[in-house]
């Protein structure tokens, strides 16, 4: 088991390095750097001055050196002002030591956000916290409902209940967040007036039922169908097993067969599916937070990408890639742990 986890961690690390390198390359493409220089100087700055600004701030150094600096394995040189000969931080709102130093991800330094005029850490972690709250409520509603639908449908295959629930779960998988968000807002906010169509107040005044139900509902609906279908398939398979028939023939009631014998085995497969939902939820987070104006991680990502905020976008990418890989690891380990047949091997 330990060797398995170590091997997975090794693959994860390799994937992480590859992906961050790709992201680093894409974010630092020439057009993006030019846009950054223009936004930091002036619209009418001539091209050679833009170029000299980029050279002065170290954006024109070798790709691998810059990547190493970002990671924190290559020393960052201080920014020397040519006129006075003194070290001066690259961005006025962001402190920087005056001597060469290691200052990258490994040292916990994510860089400076040019859009929000602060350090990336000061923007990224609160955003992640806010998204964590959203994710918690989504999971807390989505998982029990989806499992319940899946179990009810798979319990007796082919009945009217099964067909109704199956078609309903197909319908929810056909409804992406930006569609269900609009429909729910129209029904519950504009038409009935029960709920708030914006979650902006959740950031400042705290989460309430009134401002948080719509975002949670919107995100949960898209995921429910998929998890429910997986649970149903797994439940149907378990219900045809010999030991279920034995339990029935022993004279146990149907409900106790389902709860005691079938459920435990039927829930192994959905566990993996639920874990692998996280990357998918990440897209949902971005859509829902934009739609309901909730200042979380997704909102930060959109702002960073829209305003060409290089360091912030890199930080967001690192976090999202980490979340995806980490949930994959957990789902692998959890699957091996839950399923005795794999555990023994």
């Amino acid at each position: 088991m330990l060797a398995f986890i170590l091997r997975r961690l090794g693959t994860m690390l390799a994937t992480m390095v590859c992906l961050t390198m790709v992201v680093f390359f894409m974010v630092n493409l020439d057009p993006n750097l030019k846009k950054l220089a223009i936004s930091q100087l002036d619209m009418r700055t001539p091209a050679d001055q833009l170029e000299s600004w980029l050279v002065k701030n170290g954006y024109r150094e070798n790709f691998l050196v810059r990547y190493g600096q970002w990671i924190g394995v290559v020393k960052k040189q201080p920014n020397i002002d040519a006129a006075t000969g003194e070290a001066k931080p690259r961005f006025a709102f962001c402190n920087e030591p005056a001597e060469p130093h290691y200052g990258g991800i490994l040292q916990g330094n994510f860089g400076c956000s040019t859009k929000f005029k602060t350090t990336v850490s000061a923007k990224l972690w609160p955003g992640l916290g806010a998204t964590g709250i959203l994710m918690f409520w989504v999971m807390a509603t989505m998982v029990p409902i989806a499992l319940l639908i899946g179990i009810l449908a798979g319990m007796r295959e082919g009945t009217r209940l099964d067909r109704t629930l199956s078609v309903a779960s197909i319908a929810t998988t056909a409804t992406p967040e930006y569609v269900s968000g609009v429909i729910f807002t129209v029904i519950f906010a504009t038409w009935l007036g029960w709920l708030n169509g914006s979650a902006a107040s959740a950031t400042s005044q705290g989460v309430t039922f009134y401002n948080f139900t719509l975002p949670v509902m919107t995100m949960a609906v898209y995921g429910i169908g998929y998890i429910a279908r997986m649970t149903r398939a797994s439940m149907v398979e378990v219900m045809t097993q010999q030991y279920i028939r034995t339990a029935r023939l022993k004279g146990l009631s149907f409900s106790s067969v389902v709860i005691k014998h079938a459920l435990r085995n039927a829930l192994i497969a959905p566990f993996t599916v639920i874990m692998l939902q996280f990357p998918w939820l990440l897209t949902g987070v971005v859509i829902v937070e934009t739609m309901f104006r909730y200042q979380g991680f997704g909102f930060t990502l959109v702002e960073a990408a829209g305003n060409n905020d290089i360091d912030l976008l890199l930080g967001c990418s690192l976090v999202s890639v980490f979340v995806v890989l980490f949930t994959q690891l957990i789902s692998d380990i959890g699957y091996a742990y839950l399923n005795p047949r794999i555990r023994v091997q």
Binding site: T11, A14, T15, C18, L19, V23, M26, V27, L29, D30, P31, N32, K35, S166, V167, I170, A171, T173, A174, T175, P176, Y178, V179, G181, V182, I183, T185, V186, A189, T190, W191, G197, P279, L282, T283, V286, I287, T290, M291, L301, V302, A305, L313, C316, S317, S320, V321, V324, L325, Q328
Partner: protein, 385 residues
Amino acid sequence: MELEFLGVFAIIAGVIGRFWPVWLAMAIVVAASLFYKKRLGLYGQLYDNGVGIAGVLICFFWLFTAIFASTVAPFDPLAQIPIMKDALPGAIVPDGGGVYYFGADKLARDVFSRMVSGSQIVLIIAPAATMFAIMVGATLGLPAGYYGGRVDSILSFLANLVLAFPVILLFYLLVTPGIMETPIPYGLAGVFFLFPIIFFATLFYTRFKNRPDRLYVLLALTIVIGGWVYVGLVFDKDPLGIVHIDPNQLNIFVAVVFASSPGVFRIVRGLVMDIKTRDYIAAAQTRGETPWYIMLWEILPNARGPLIVDACLRIGYTTILLGTLGYFGLGLAPESPDWGTAIKDASRLLRSFIHPALPPTIALMSFVLGLNLLADALREQSMKD
């Protein structure tokens, strides 16, 4: 000047009337399918259950709407009639100009016409991108599953790399105005669009290599047609000027293919690993067939059932991805009538007007639902065999 409005009943009747070419085409196709049902195989069996019928009808509805979009839509999707700004559904254009059945958006464009024209964009890009993704995924998934070993490890690592990217981040990095100044989208397009040519060339070569008369004709056809489309799409230098794609459309096309081909790769690889243990594969190997012949002519046809189901689901998923791109204003032109962009524009004004938001949302949802129902019915039918 006050606008005049139609009643609810007149709106419904009018909309149904506008769709007359769609109803006609659907009636002909469905009647013909029912008549020849016995000879149509899997497609004919779809008409046996309710889910299948619903899926087929919805998909045909949007297919024919896209084909006849210019007849169905009463107005140009980009035309603005200033007096109609934010008009409610059923507003009549003054001086006998026609009716805005679903009202007007904030730029005074007809919501109904935009929804109908939007179907054209979605129904061209989504299935085409899915087809390319399947070609790429299958061409790489077949050897990965068949040979295993190092080929498999490398290709699987690459596929997992792409799958570990959150889709939205991938789009924000790949579909930006800045990236079109770099050679990246054209390079990716050059690689992806090569796969269908390689696929068909190998397909024909392995089958007909001992029958030069057939082989040369088919190979020549593949290279001429494939090369023509390739030159038109990647370099935008079609000598005949028929095949053309805008740079921003090429960009989203490439991004969508890039995002969904690793999924196809994984499915094909899994199917190949399952099928290659069958007896008829061992028989073909004993006959001395080449590996690529076995992959393309023995394994692939036997994997078609799950692949068709996956293709249906994937077209739906691609439609959702396109909508996401439109919703974030990436790639597509801001005035483009596609559903995602329309939802983005309308969702900002939900407090004041809801009517521009509903037609594109319902259109997108129903189309994806139709495809999912179709996939479900196909899966059920192919499992019966």
